[in-house]
Structure formats: C-alpha cells, structure tokens
C-alpha cells in the first residue's frame, strides 16, 4: 500500500507544484501573495470545459484522446495567461507602491470577485469533465498506476522543464531573474519592470490554468469554488519549498502531496489536512525560510 500511496501523492503533488510556481514567481518579484491565483486555476478548468463543449465532446462519460487534450490545454493556458495579465493590470498595478497589506486585501477582493462571478456565470453546480484514457491502468506488483496519473506527472514535469529552460536561457527569463534578485539594479540596467511583471503573471497563470485542466480531467469535475482549497494547498507548498524559489515550489508541491497521502493513510484521514499543516509549521520552525532558500546573487 505504501507505493500506492506514494503514486497518488506524486500525482497530486505534481498539480500542487504547478500552481505553487505561480505563487512563488509573483512573490519573488512583488513580495506579495496573489490570493486570486487559485481562481485563475479554476478559470483554466472552465476554459477547457467550454473548449471540449465547442469541440463537440460529450462531457458525461466522454473520452478524449491526447491530441484533443493538447487542443484544449494550449488555448486554455493562453487565456489564463491573458487573464493573469489583466488581473495584475487592474487589481495590483495601481497599488504596486502601496503596502503589502493593501496588495493582500486587493488580492482577496479579486479572489472573491472572480469566484463569485464564475458562480454567477457558470452556475454553482459541479459539472462533469470528459476522461482521458477511460480508466485504464498498469499494475506493478500490488501497485496500480492509472494512465491519467502518469499523464498528469508527465505533463507537469514537461511544463516545469519548459519553465526551467525559459527562466535560465531566454532574455525575458533572465530579466525575470534579475528583477527578483535586485529590483533597483535591474531597473537601472534598463529592464522594463512592467513587462517583466506582466510576463511573470502570464506564466504563473498559464501554469495554473494547465494544472486546472489536468485536475478537471483527473477528477472528472469542475466547480467554481475549486480554487480556494487548491490555492491554500499550493501556497503552503510554495512556502514549504521556500517562497520566491521556483525549484523550491516544485519540491514543496511534490512533498506536500506525498505527506498528505501517507499521513492520511497511516495516521487518520480525518486529520489529513491537519497533518500537512503540522508538518509545515514544524518545517518552518526548523527552517524559517523554507527548504530551499531564495537564491542570491
């Protein structure tokens, strides 16, 4: 059973990691927690829901193939990226020079607005999503790994590798790193802050959107309040890994997923979320800046 729990934890952890990256990237540059990030993730799932509808796929009991999955994934990520830019422009840019508290309140406000607008527009009921690989799985020993779990892991890893390449080797990626290391120096070097911030929001939101679609397909459901819990979990993961640090967010996400799975199974499912928070608090007391600290120049 241990390996079974590990596999489940890894799949969930991959999703947490994708969402956590958005929190960590924004924090690395603007030093505030974008509470509306979870709602962008929710909107990503809805994007895919409507794209599947548009493609004429039956959502109840429907099965999609891999090309169809990517046909939904890419436009949804783009839409989420644009929404991230818009969110920053309307809710955060006007108060960029204000205190972190006002940014936090503004973020909570944006989260309320997005979640309740979605509830108004799409209805509050849980809606079904089509399946990828209709319930097929492989068995290794006693451990069952479903194709969708593998797919979630593979796509998460691919996206994280792509992000890593982008941050390390492109000009914009370097600019993002420069701003997160030293804002003033970066601006003095002629880096356009607004562009970097927009790019950060776009990338973080697109990844959250991707996570949203995978969660939607993995669990087969989409509903307007799904962002709240996922947001808190991903934020926890980002902190656990050391906020502001992208590899840290990935590590934190995967760790949190595994802790939850194993903690639930071996201690008590009723206390599953409490175990995750306890581990976080203890980890933070021992390592106050998270597991991986923010890199410095």
């Amino acid at each position: 059973m241990f390996f079974q729990q590990l596999v489940n934890g890894l799949a969930v952890g991959g999703i947490y990691a994708l969402i956590a990256i958005g929190y960590t990237m924004v924090y690395g540059i603007l030093f505030f927690v974008n509470f509306a990030h979870g709602d962008i993730y929710m909107l990503g799932t809805y994007c895919a829901f409507f794209i599947f509808g548009f493609m004429g796929i039956e959502v109840t009991g429907g099965v999609i193939n891999v090309p169809q999955f990517f046909a939904a994934l890419i436009p949804s990520m783009l839409i989420c990226g644009v929404m991230g830019i818009a969110l920053e422009k309307f809710a955060y840019r006007p108060i960029r020079n204000g205190s972190r508290l006002s940014a936090m309140i503004s973020a909570l406000g944006a989260s309320l607005f997005l979640c309740n607008t979605a509830m108004y527009l799409f209805g509050s009921q849980t809606k079904p999503m089509p399946k990828l690989f209709a319930g097929e799985y492989i068995t290794i020993g006693n451990t069952i790994i479903s194709y969708i779990q593998l797919a979630v892991l593979v796509v998460s890893i691919l996206l994280m590798l792509a992000l890593h390449f982008f941050i390390k080797h492109t000009k914009l990626g370097k600019a993002i790193r420069a701003v997160s290391d030293d804002q003033r120096a970066a601006v003095l070097m002629g880096i356009d802050m607004n562009r970097v911030i927009s790019a950060t929001f776009a990338i973080g939101s697109a990844l959250a959107g991707a996570a949203g679609i995978m969660v939607g397909i993995y669990y087969g459901a989409v509903y307007p309040t799904m962002g709240a819990v996922a947001g808190i979990k991903a934020f926890t993961a980002a902190i656990l890994g050391g906020i502001g640090n992208i590899p840290g967010a990935m590590l934190g996400g995967v760790l949190l997923g595994i802790i939850e799975s194993l903690g639930g199974a071996y201690i008590s499912f009723g206390y599953r979320d409490a175990i995750a928070f306890f581990v976080l608090i203890i980890a933070l007391c021992l390592m106050p800046t998270g597991i991986l600290r923010k890199g410095r120049t």
């Binding site: 030093f31 205190s99 508290l101 309140i105 503004s106 944006a110 309320l112 607008t117 804002q183 206390y271």
Partner: protein, 327 residues
C-alpha cells in the same frame, strides 16, 4: 507628537461618551429583533477585528487564523458550561485564559517567522483548530454542541436579543477601550516599535520575543471572549461556524476600517458584517460587489477608511528597508 496626544486625549473625552451613548440609545429606535441580531453579530466581529488589530495593527504580525481563537473560546466555554455546569461568567473567563495560552503558543513560531511565512502558519493554525473540532469526541465532531446555556445573573437571563446586544457591545467597548489605552501605554509603544523596526526596537532594549508573544496572547484572549459570547448567544456551535473565510473576513474588516486605529476595525465590522445583511436581496451579486469594493478601496485609500497614511507608510518603509537589506 505632544500636541497630537493632547488633542487626541481632549477628543477622547468627547468621543467615547458619545459613542457609548449612541450604542445605549440605539435599541430605542430599533424595535426589530432582526436588526438587533445583526447588531450583536457586528459587536462580536468588532471584538474580533479589534483583537486582531492588536496583533496585526499594533505589532505588525500577520495573522490569518483568528477564527481559530474564536473557535477555541466558543468550544472551551461551551464544554465547561455543559460538562462541568459552570456559569457563563466563569466559563468565559476560563475560555479567555485558554485563548491567551493558545495565542502564546501560536506566538512562539512567530519569534522566528515573518510576513507570509507567519501568514501561512496562522492560517494553518485556524485550519488545525477546525479539523480537531471536527474529529474529537469531546467537541461532538461535526454534529456540534447544541443547548449551550445563556448567561444568567441573579434571576436575570440574557436570552433576548436586546440583553445580548447590551452584553456584547459592553464587551466590545471594553475591548476597544483597553486597545485604546494600550496604544498610548509603554506596552503599546513597545508593540509598535516592533512593528515599525524590529532591529531598532531590539537595540533599544525592547524584548521582542516577549512582546510578540504577548500580542498574540492578548489578541487570542479577546477573540476567545467573542467565541464564548457567540456560543451562549446562539446556543449552538459546530466546526463550520469557524471557517477560513471568517478569518479572512475579520482580517478585511480590520484593514478596510483602518489598520492600527481604534475605531477602524469597528467600522470595518459594521461594513462587512452589516452591509451583506442590508444587501441580502441582491444575494447573487453581493460578494461580487464586495470583491470589487475591496480592490477599489485599496487603490484609493490603502490605509483603510479611517486609517492615516502613516500606518501604510510604515509597512512600506519596512519593506524598502528589507529590500535594501537583502541587497
């Protein structure tokens, strides 16, 4: 500085009696139980926001788990009253003690953590309290605790909305008054020095750990009082009364009204607990509008409605300094 203190003292002489008098006579104009009920709820939120203000506004420690203290107070008081048959008054004092010690306990990680790290730890605390309330036997899990006795004094029972209105607002005014006195005391100044510049405070001999832990303790104590009042007022508590959304709500009340001020959190409670009731017929839109209002307010009045710009400025300075230090 001296002039400002004098002015504020002179003003306090007028404003406090006026505020209290308004609260005392308000029920004369409100015969409606529903209005009184909402006012009691606002009073409870005023206590909660005011007590959170001691932690966040005075001491500058983020806390997103205030509903956790509220729950601790409510459960301790309810269990003591039902299991041990204690009176409301004894039980509420015990629950305040429990709130205080829980606060001190939560304050311990605060010694080492700052800003968003503290934010997630306090958020986790709120969730942990709720999860324990859902899973323990003594709290009756999700079934909740019904039949909590109402406060009694002599032969008089606080079982009407009117009597609870006076009791809750008396507690709220006491909380406000203590917070106001604290702000101008040596203790309060020490808290604010920790908020404005930890390094300078420590080098001037302020025992930072002690003040941080005390701030959490006192904040937790008053929140527990609100919990105890809530339990005896509605006579039923269950874990889903104390959610993360309540912690966030209390936090917003404090910020919207004006961080670090005394009247601010109370005004915030009026706005965020009162307005949704007034707007009940627009139920579908009220949270959408509230979200927009929060963003707009932060753009145009980042210090909150009653807040001065200094409080907003001081955190900004801290952040600048922090950035400078990291460089």
């Amino acid at each position: 500085m001296d002039g400002e203190v004098k002015r504020s003292v002179r003003f306090a002489v007028v404003s406090w009696p006026l505020f209290v008098a308004a609260l005392v006579v308000a029920p004369v104009f409100i015969s409606n139980d529903y209005m009184l009920h909402v006012l009691v709820l606002i009073g409870l939120y005023a206590i909660l926001a005011e007590s959170l203000n001691i932690v966040v506004g005075f001491t500058g420690q983020f806390s997103l788990g205030h509903a956790g203290f509220w729950a601790v107070g409510a459960y301790v008081s309810a269990i003591l009253m039902i299991r041990l048959g204690l009176s409301f008054w004894t039980a509420s004092v015990m629950s305040m003690l429990a709130g205080y010690f829980t606060g001190v306990l939560l304050g311990l990680p605060a010694m080492r953590l700052k800003g968003d790290y503290l934010c997630i730890v306090t958020l986790g605390f709120g969730e942990i309290v709720r999860i324990f309330a859902t899973n323990l036997e003594v709290t009756r899990g999700p079934m909740g605790i019904p039949g909590i006795p109402t406060p009694q004094i002599g032969g008089f029972s606080f079982d009407s909305e009117l009597s609870m209105y006076y009791l809750c607002w008396a507690c709220a005014v006491v909380t406000m008054y203590i917070a106001a006195r604290m702000r101008h005391s040596r203790f309060g100044r020490a808290l604010m020095s920790v908020r404005d510049d930890e390094l300078a405070a420590v080098s001037l001999g302020v025992n930072m750990t002690y003040y941080k832990v005390q701030a959490f303790g006192i904040g937790g104590m008053f929140a527990a009082l609100a919990g105890s009042l809530y339990a005896s007022w509605t006579t039923f508590i269950s874990p889903d009364v104390f959610q993360f959304s309540d912690s966030a709500n209390i936090f917003c009340m404090m910020i919207l009204g004006g961080l670090g001020t005394i009247a601010g959190p109370v005004l915030g409670a009026f706005l965020l607990a009162g307005l949704p009731e007034v707007l009940r017929q627009f139920a579908e839109f009220r949270l959408i509008v509230l979200g927009l209002l929060m963003i707009i307010l932060m753009i145009y009045r980042p210090g909150g409605i009653l807040g001065s710009y200094d409080t907003a400025g001081s955190t900004r300075q801290v952040r600048r300094r922090k950035i400078a230090r990291e460089v």
